[in-house]
Symmetry: C2
């Protein structure tokens, strides 16, 4: 997946809202129409559509219109850039802990050698 | 980690900014003073401090002040709620694909039995 600049911003910002995360949780179970998505929320349809649009802009979902019904579905691999970023952070962090570990081991060995 | 309501919102919102992600990437390598964090950015110190405060509010970093120097560090396990949410979505999604797979297998078997 080619990530345009700012795409990671849009992804994280899209995920920073409970309604949008609930929509994604529903879509992980399969595609749904906008009215099906709206059902569990006490929310006017235009507000819900606003959230769907934010999710589309971030690349997390796509939607197609057939007559009066708009069906929304999750994009396969949509979370990959977010996961990759988190994995990178973990790798850096664990690399740091490994280096700390090596340092302490060396310190203890030097002490032993010196005693 | 006990997640207060809205904590996941704060986490994702904190991550939805390139400067804040760059600060976190730096902190994954180890604690840093605010001026060390500011160095790679062409940014006034108060703006940088604003980002650090947002990261603190989200629970991703903590900071301690010693004299005039404020040192910022990453909180261990800070990304866990974000990872957990992503893992849940993946589990739901994969569960759905498994069910689709079962369905297709059953469909093909029924066809064979009927032929």
């Amino acid at each position: 997946m080619n990530l345009s600049p700012g795409q990671l911003d849009l992804l994280f910002q899209a995920l920073g809202d409970p309604t949008r995360r609930a929509i994604l949780e529903r879509l992980a179970r399969g595609p749904a129409s906008v009215s099906e998505l709206a059902a569990p929320f006490d929310m006017a349809l235009p507000s819900l559509m606003g959230h769907v649009r934010r999710l589309e802009e971030s690349g997390l979902v796509t939607s197609t219109k057939d007559g009066r019904i708009r069906t929304v579905q999750l994009v396969t691999g949509a979370f990959t850039p977010v996961r990759s970023w988190l994995d990178e952070q973990r790798a850096i962090w664990e690399g740091r802990l490994d280096r700390l570990d090596d340092y302490v081991t060396r310190l203890m060995k030097d002490r032993e050698d010196g005693s």
